[in-house]
Symmetry: C2
């Protein structure tokens, strides 16, 4: 289980110290963190907590929302928080239309990356553009496909701008495996979640643990292995049902779900 990373959003209401202690006790080596709980606990204190527990931070979520008024300052702060936590990747949820025509909203994302990339490079943090499911295009992310995310990466070196690949968002896309194969150096973050139907009333919080839905995980794991990705594999599931349960139980079930779909090679 060397590569498993527990994204804390999977147990949204579990306090950060408990997440870290629970992961350390369970032999988990990586955690994916979110800015709000980190800020609440304190940035330096969070960094020390994770470090002292022997965990690495696989990613921090989220930057982006380039249509918002304070996007530049907020994203610069997010990059700094990544650096303080030792997180190699800042996951970018790029934001919806913000009342603008779609091409204009997308152009703002490109301009935002250009403004932010030098600071990310200086900080040693990769901006991980997350292609999100097209059902979030209006209100959450105008980056709706892996191809669109890769086009945004194109002007920048891979250490500055890459992608956050989440199976939930891209599993439907005919081109996803050929694009991963052609742009392997762009995978900065890799997350697993499953697609379950019917969708719930709030589509944001109706994802499934790996193996409970319709995503075929094996081709994704093969595709990222084939391009030489050896980084952490996060499980990040937004599910109102999971969130209502004790964090320890969520972690246990998440580890079991991970093991049901991922076979890590024996350590050599």
């Amino acid at each position: 289980m060397d590569r498993f990373s527990f994204n804390q959003a999977t147990a949204k209401y579990w306090p950060l110290p408990d997440v870290v202690a629970g992961c350390a006790a369970a032999g988990v080596r990586h955690v994916g963190l979110w800015r709000e709980p980190v800020a609440e606990y304190g940035l330096e204190r969070s960094a020390a907590l994770v470090r002292d527990a022997g965990l690495s931070v696989s990613s921090l979520c989220r930057g982006g929302f380039f249509g918002a008024d304070d996007w530049l300052d907020d994203n610069r702060r997010a990059v700094d928080e990544c650096a303080a936590l030792g997180a190699p990747a800042l996951v970018l949820v790029c934001g919806g239309l913000f009342g603008r025509p779609l091409p204009e909203a997308r152009a703002r994302v490109a301009a935002g990356l250009e403004a932010l990339a030098p600071h990310a490079l200086d900080a040693g943090v990769t901006l991980a553009v997350e292609p999100m499911h097209p059902m979030f295009c209006a209100d959450r992310s105008v980056v709706t496909s892996l191809a669109g995310a890769l086009a945004l990466c194109e002007p920048f070196p891979p250490e500055a701008v890459g992608i956050a690949l989440d199976t939930y968002h891209v599993w439907w896309d005919e081109r996803v495996f050929e694009l991963i194969a052609a742009h392997g150096d762009r995978v900065a973050c890799f997350q697993l979640a499953d697609w379950v139907v019917p969708l719930p009333a709030d589509v944001l919080v109706g994802r499934g643990l790996p193996g409970t839905g319709h995503v075929d995980f094996a081709p994704f794991l093969e595709a990222v292995a084939a391009i030489g990705y050896r980084g952490p594999i996060e499980v990040e599931v937004f599910d109102a049902g999971l969130w209502s349960r004790p964090g320890e139980d969520v972690l246990r079930d998440t580890i079991a779900a991970y093991r049901s779909v991922v076979t890590e090679p024996a350590r050599t």
Copy 2:
């Protein structure tokens, strides 16, 4: 309003004779029909009803569901129904996974089109593959993008297999306008509906009349005009709110919505 077509699904519970009478009285020239209400009223009787009212049938919905056991017989019948109604296009909702891996489910759609195309050609009916929004991939259509739909069309002549282009399903796609421009001869049916947020509990029935949501219709209208499409423009909106209202009111509001986004050139 020569090109406006009222798809009867917009007023789902309005009886077919009332739909036809209402459209004729309002000066509407085209209707989009669905198989269930046509079967209920009687195929030949429906054909006569529409013909006697001076209306044309712009499309019949739906064939497809190639993963179902009786797909071949059912689709052949649907083609025959189109021919009887004088509908030039059979809209194909191609079906979800039916428990199969995604590539296999997609291969079945391709095989289904191959089996069905000769009969469609004989009947003078175009099979109109509808790329559906990716949020329906698991349970409704594994054809999730215009590019995917066009790839399915490729082996066949345009009079046999084309696409049903519905703004609701493809508005998020970066490639949609370049693909329309490159494959104009494939547009067999053109439908307008708007994307409204938040999505309702049942995502199938939460679409909006044109102009009430986030779709920018002008580029779509320009794109289909540029490729020489001169056929009907259907408004097809699945919305539980609309369905609860009297059919006359729905038709009136649908015509107003159409006029708010479509400017037809003056007749020459």
